[in-house]
């Protein structure tokens, strides 16, 4: 596919023009950390960031979203009938998305868009979004993308991959749409020394990451072996069952549906939910299959590392972005849990 070299000055001008064609989200520094926000000016985007605090999943699946609306007015003949809320799906460009987060979009698509049912809102926002990713020259200590099946320079899931080679970006078109978009940008042919630099940066980044656990080990154990393993007691102790890991995670998708009423009208909304919350599986009868913290903690790791791969015959439902590792208030480390899951064995000696 096509490749261009775009100097950093040219890139700022290109970004300006892109902002007139797309709603552009980029990493914006908010004082303490970066998050994806709509760029008001090209200079708002800080592409020297490591990664955003919240993942870009919120751009396709916002925390709180109105699904439907309805009237409850007594004299309204349409009262009680649930109707679609008006939605806009402007052409969107997500600039600077890291390969891990882009790969996450592919993973979660298997959930939102199935043969039987398609989530209209996620699907429409995904279709309207162009992903211009930025390779990671300097992965963090908490990153383990290569272990999870992707990588700091992984193009999967992107439309264009940018590699920061210092003076500018080597931009590589990945998808057809990326090719068209790249073709519309002014850029030069990539000099061979920059191609080499890009390759060198990739080798360095991948070398830094190493292998943190073996995903194949997880495949060879059965669901039953892992579910009944004795180490969950140790893993679950420190967990405080907050939503930090699930909300920061780019591959977590669970949501709750609530009806909210104000006087004579109401909305049916959806909001992020978490398997960490006790109410998540609480039946109306009062029965709760995951009433204990151990069961909830086990569910999260089993889902990410075993149920998802078994169900979809895909890799693990984790892209190694490391946000949960960095921000869990009690330092529960998914890499440690994955190691416990891969080396344990309940089979008789």
């Amino acid at each position: 596919m096509a490749e261009r070299y775009i100097s950093k000055e040219k890139f700022t001008r290109i970004l300006d023009r892109l902002m007139s064609r797309y709603r552009v989200y980029g990493p914006v520094f908010g004082g303490m950390y970066h998050d994806f926000e709509v760029l008001k000016e090209a200079g708002d985007a800080d592409l020297s960031f490591r990664n955003t605090r919240l993942s870009p999943k919120g751009l396709l699946h916002p925390h709180s979203e109105r699904m439907f609306e309805y009237s409850l007015a007594k004299d309204d003949p349409e009262a009680g009938i649930v109707k679609e809320a008006a939605k806009e799906y402007p052409a969107t460009l997500i600039l600077g998305i890291r390969p891990c987060d882009a790969r996450a979009f592919q993973l979660v698509e298997l959930n939102y868009v199935t043969e039987a049912f398609q989530d209209p809102w996620w699907r429409n926002r995904r279709k309207a979004a162009v992903l211009v990713g930025l390779a990671c020259n300097e992965p963090c200590e908490s990153c383990f993308c290569t272990t999870a099946g992707t990588g700091p320079f992984d193009e999967t899931g992107l439309d264009i991959l940018l590699v920061d080679v210092g003076t500018g970006y080597v931009a590589r078109a990945v998808s057809k749409e990326g090719g068209t978009l790249l073709g519309s940008m002014e850029g030069d042919a990539v000099p061979s020394d920059l191609t080499e630099e890009s390759a060198r940066l990739q080798r360095k980044a991948e070398g830094q990451l190493g292998k943190q656990f073996n995903v194949d080990d997880l495949k060879s154990k059965t669901v039953s072996e892992l579910f009944n393993a004795p180490f969950w007691d140790e893993v679950q102790f420190s967990c405080i069952n907050c939503g930090t890991c699930t909300f920061l995670c780019p591959t977590c998708w669970c949501f709750d549906i609530q009806d909210e009423v104000y006087k004579e009208r109401g909305d049916r909304i959806r909001i992020w939910d978490s398997c960490m919350f006790p109410l998540f599986t609480h039946h109306g009868s009062g029965h709760n299959p995951r009433a204990q913290k151990l069961q909830r903690v086990r569910q999260r790791f089993m889902h990410k590392l075993k149920y998802y791969p078994e169900k979809y015959k895909d890799g693990i439902a984790c892209v190694g972005c490391g946000r949960c590792v960095k921000h869990c208030p009690v330092n529960i480390d998914i890499r440690h849990v994955a190691r416990l899951m891969s080396t344990s064995c309940t089979c008789p000696a």
Partner: protein, 280 residues
């Protein structure tokens, strides 16, 4: 592309209180739009999300059989926010239905087989759907012997009492209605727990499938009885409940291991269930 989260508007045509404790009511619903009714093609065993605007949705088994035209019925237990409001709604009021959802009892496999149905309490709703379906003149010949054991704590807590009595009088179905206990001297059917009555009536497992629905405790004690009668795990079928929201396998909450109860279930064979984590 239709939005799978959007309910079809329906009107309540009738509300019947089924049980003497008034906790169970059957709602007869009619679609406001004929095109919605045409899209709502279902099989016994499936469920739908009943939607009450302003309150929320609840997943309830469809109690009618697809052979009953022009309306659908749901028997709802009063447990929480939505069901309390629903129980206070009257004929003429508008609500919503989303579905049909989930998988259904394996009717293709049951073809030519004897069917043993064991139900308890208010889990009987999709079993009613199944019985009405099988007894329909167009369908009856497709199935062998039909035996039913259905029980509740007391006579007043049985669902569909008139229909039960009708079925009991029929020759093409063996009804064994039971109650745990009763002081009613006019009670003419069995007295005893469902597992015990099942054991006593001993329906044959030869060329037969068993469909079991009921509270966890009933299922727990019925399964060994069925096993002793010779039903292997792949010929014992059950339907599970779970907290659900989307009902279409997307919101992520109703899983047992790899299976979403709303999409890969709620109907599972015992064989399938025994391979899943014991978390339901």
């Amino acid at each position: 592309m239709n939005n799978p989260y959007l309910p079809y508007p329906v009107r309540i045509r009738s509300v019947v209180t089924e049980t003497e404790d008034r906790n169970l009511k059957t709602f007869e619903l009619v679609f406001l739009r004929p095109e919605d009714e045409a899209r709502f093609q279902y099989m016994p065993g499936q469920f739908a999300e009943l939607s009450v605007a302003g309150l929320g949705e609840i997943p309830i088994g469809i109690a009618t059989s697809p052979t009953e035209k022009g309306f659908i019925k749901f028997t709802v237990n009063k447990v929480g926010k939505v069901t309390h409001h629903l129980h206070n709604m009257s004929p003429g009021e508008v609500m919503g239905v989303r579905g049909p959802l989930g998988n259904w009892y394996p009717w293709e496999i049951l073809e030519g087989k004897n069917v043993v149905i064991v139900g308890g309490g208010f889990a009987f709703t999709t079993l009613r759907s199944s019985i009405v379906y099988m007894l329909h003149p167009e369908n009856r010949a497709r199935f062998g012997d039909i035996s039913v054991v259905y029980g509740a704590r007391s006579p007043g807590l049985l669902l569909y009492k008139e229909e039960l009595a009708e079925w009991e009088r029929r020759k093409d179905i063996n009804m064994h209605i039971t109650v745990d206990s009763t002081n009613d001297p006019t009670w003419k059917y069995n007295v005893g727990f469902v597992p015990a009555v099942t054991k006593q009536k001993a329906p044959s497992s030869e060329n037969a499938y068993a469909i079991v629905c009921g509270p966890p405790i009933m299922i727990k004690f019925t399964l060994p009885v069925l096993t002793d009668l010779g039903f292997p795990p792949d010929r014992i079928i059950t339907s599970l409940e779970m907290r659900m929201k989307c009902g279409i396998g997307i919101c992520g909450r109703c899983n047992i291991g790899t299976e979403y109860v709303c999409k890969d279930g709620p109907v599972f064979t015992l064989e399938k269930l025994s391979g899943l984590p014991n978390e339901y």
